[in-house]
């Protein structure tokens, strides 16, 4: 009797166990492999040294490397997803012992996804990281691995990488990200529309007054918009720098520019919206996707954004677009080269060395760039930049040429982004900017409010 009851209990427990196991069956597989891997990677004996310097050949070395699974996470549009999957396939062919689990999403949603993964102790081995508020945040919280040891051991070969831009991945002496490309803010314009309107094409040395004049002419003569509204999250910083100021104060406690700068910046747009030269914000919000911008539909001759987005934009527009610097005065003070994005390695990655090899492959292989052709920004490897520029189509060549132009007309990037800047930029980009452009708030009130709330946020997050 007693025994029988014991048996029933056991049976029930087994059923329960089976249910629980089958519920997470998909995962338990992975867990197994990862656990096995951790042994291998912890001891870095699997031919890492022999690969040094030219990791792109992958396998090499004496003893056969043990199988490794790397999780790689990035954000991007469809073009980038397609490219990156091809690159990963190529890497796996060259390194049969490596299995890469790709995960990708659009930029919206990426940071939610990443922070949830970090919280769940499930940080991807290789992850795309962004300069500025995000790098600061992840650096301060000690999520990313210092890549200096891999540079010293030669697993990541930095000899041909642009030293200036490499600096942008350094926080407190630790190399937390390898830039995958260079970027700069640019004005994209449709030369055909501007010609039709009878205006002058913009060129180096133009000013905001010229910008307004062209926009007005196009609006009056063609009956389309002269320009979309500008995104304060990107352009306001340029505007402040033009005027010898910074977005954040050096001590990281607040706004780094005068109210008057903020007011001038927004007054220009408020004025243009009133005239109908710029669309009202509700129209802008219907064109939020990159492939859906006004310039793509031929509804405006201008667009202002990061240079690496030009490829996708031009592809969607399907007609020649040109690039030039942002309007002056003092373009060279305002403009800066920015790392388009980094690849970083998780600090708790069990395969950090393999992750580093993958990154080395990414930045030092011509084959990679032959696939993505500057979609992640202009390569930071000078040799590759040189070699690839011969294979580019016109749009891509324009982008590369633009980076050369921008490099010659810019100043170093400001790296003083405090923790909490993500919340500050959210405040500016989705709240204060909208209220001003919807004419619910004057630029003067907006400036005061932005200053006050920024100080609050930064004080709270210190």
């Amino acid at each position: 009797m007693k025994r029988r009851r014991m048996f029933t209990v056991l049976l029930a427990l087994m059923l329960a166990l089976a249910a629980v196991l089958s519920a997470c069956g998909g995962k338990s597989d992975n867990g197994g492999t990862n656990a096995a891997n951790s042994n291998t990677a912890g001891r870095s004996e699997n031919g890492g040294g022999s690969n040094a310097g030219s990791g792109s050949e992958g396998s090499g070395g004496g003893d056969a490397p043990k199988p490794v699974t790397l999780k790689v996470l990035w954000w991007g549009g469809q073009t980038r997803h397609d490219n990156t999957l091809k690159i990963i396939e190529l890497y796996q062919q060259q390194n049969p012992h490596v299995t890469i689990e790709p995960e990708f999403t659009g930029f919206d949603g990426y940071w939610e996804k990443l922070s949830a993964m970090v919280a769940g102790n499930n940080t991807p081995d290789v992850l795309q990281m962004n300069f500025g508020e995000y790098l600061t945040q992840y650096a301060k919280n000690d999520v990313l691995a210092d890549l200096n040891p891999f540079v010293e051991s030669g697993i990541i070969d930095t000899s041909k990488l642009d030293a200036g831009i490499m600096e942008s991945g350094v926080v407190d002496g630790k190399l937390l990200g390898i830039p995958l490309g260079m970027n700069a803010l640019t004005v994209i314009y449709d030369p055909e529309l501007i010609k039709q309107a009878g205006a002058q094409e913009p060129a180096l040395g133009w000013t905001w007054d010229d910008f307004k004049a062209i926009a007005r002419t196009v609006h009056q003569n063609l009956g389309i918009y002269g320009s979309p509204t500008l995104e304060a999250n990107n352009i306001l910083e340029y505007y402040a720098r033009q005027n010898d100021q910074k977005f954040f104060s050096d001590d990281g406690t607040g706004v780094g520019f005068d109210d008057q700068i903020f007011i001038d910046y927004f007054n220009m747009q408020v004025e243009l919206i009133k005239e109908g030269v710029m669309p009202s914000l509700d129209v802008m919000q219907q064109h939020s996707a990159l492939e859906d911008q006004l310039i793509v539909h031929g509804k405006a001759p201008f667009d202002v954004r990061w240079s690496n987005q030009v490829v996708a934009l031009a592809k969607a527009a399907n007609r020649p677009l040109k690039l030039t610097v942002l309007p002056g005065p003092n373009t060279e003070k305002g403009l800066f080269l920015k790392p388009a994005m980094f690849f970083s390695v998780a600090k708790d990655s069990k395969n950090a060395e393999e992750a580093a090899k993958f990154i080395n492959f990414f930045v030092n292989s011509l084959e990679v760039e032959e696939i993505q052709k500057g979609e992640r920004g202009v390569p930071i490897n000078a040799e590759i930049r040189e070699a690839i520029s011969k294979q580019l189509d016109e749009v891509q060549k324009n982008m590369f040429d633009y980076i050369d132009l921008a490099a010659a007309n810019s100043s170093p990037i400001d790296t003083n982004y405090p923790v909490g800047s993500a919340e500050v930029l959210n405040l500016l980009g989705t709240d204060i900017e909208d209220r001003i452009l919807f004419a619910e708030m004057s630029p003067e009130d907006g400036a005061a409010k932005f200053r006050e709330q920024t100080a609050d946020i930064l004080a709270r997050k210190r």
Partner: protein, 300 residues
């Protein structure tokens, strides 16, 4: 002694058999919920261990955070328009479907479809297309000679697209109403029509009173759903734009957690929401004495 032991085993067997539920209930509900209560008193950004700060989050929420109050207003407005809309539509359709004899199963299935794909991202994406500047809705308006409206871009209209979406997904409420309608004996209607009652009178005197228990159930469930609305607002508008018109409470909670790295604050918001929903539910149950009609109790 022996019997007590046997009894212990018997209970153990019982617990063992319900252990899949118990593990899920404690592991995925009770413990995490209790954790959030603790976290709401801490400064926690997920990347570092939590740090105790007492009531600071609640203080900021109630005294300083305009967005908190704003999102609460948006959510109350949304819930108290979208839920009645959904229930009225569900009841109306259920009454129509109840009348259909041939192909009733087909209609029921088709009308239920929007709910199956309900909270999904695909529907939200479709909604975006429908209400876009050059979307189907505006195209139809233009055919009718009306000018199009910037549904998604104008703060006045944006929330209504979400309310309509919620109303459109009436399937589950409809099915429950349908079941309730089938339970009303036909004799009542026959007797009423003999007495000369019209269909409007029958609806208000027979159908509605006898449906009140079902209505109560639907109101409570839908109210909770309404307060928890997140996916459509997130997929269609993303960040509460335009002008915070679609900044639903849970969306703002989510932003705090995953965009601003403030998990402690987000946990606090979750508890405030729990209390609000709990109070409202209690209120509805309390009020049900006055308007819900149970046949067994006889007429009031």
């Amino acid at each position: 002694m022996a019997t007590r032991k046997a009894g212990g085993y018997r209970n153990l067997t019982g617990y063992a058999f319900i252990s899949p539920f118990l593990i899920g209930f404690f592991g995925l509900t009770v413990i995490p919920v209790a954790m959030t209560l603790y976290l709401s008193f801490t400064d926690y950004n997920m990347l570092r261990p939590p740090e105790w700060i007492g009531l600071e989050h609640y203080e900021r929420m109630f005294t300083k955070d305009e967005k908190f109050w704003h999102s609460l207003r948006v959510t109350f407005f949304y819930t108290f328009t979208a839920v009645p809309l959904r229930l009225i539509v569900a009841l109306a359709i259920a009454m129509l479907v109840a009348k259909i004899v041939r192909g009733a199963g087909f209609y029921r299935t088709v009308l239920y479809l929007p709910s199956i794909i309900g909270g999904s991202v695909a529907v939200a994406v479709m909604w975006r297309q429908l209400f876009g500047l050059e979307g189907a809705i505006n195209t139809i308006l233009k055919w009718l000679g009306l000018s199009g409206v910037s549904w998604l871009g104008d703060p006045k209209y944006a929330i209504w697209t979400l309310i309509l979406l919620y109303g459109w997904q009436f399937g589950s409420s409809m099915l429950i109403f349908l079941a309730g309608l089938k339970n009303i004996p036909n004799d009542y209607y026959e007797a009423a029509s003999v007495d000369g009652a019209g269909s409007v009178t029958m609806f208000f005197r027979i159908t509605l009173p006898l449906l009140t228990p079902v209505i109560l159930f639907n109101v409570v469930i839908q109210l909770i759903n309404g307060f928890l609305a997140f996916t459509p607002a997130y997929v269609i508008f993303g960040d509460g734009r335009p002008l915070g018109a679609t900044l639903m409470y849970v969306l703002y909670l989510f932003q705090n957690a995953f965009t601003f790295f403030d998990m402690g604050y987000a946990s606090g918001m979750a508890w405030v929401l729990l209390v609000i929903v709990g109070l409202l539910t209690a209120l509805i149950f309390k009020s049900s004495e006055y308007w819900v009609h149970y046949e067994s109790k006889g007429d009031r």
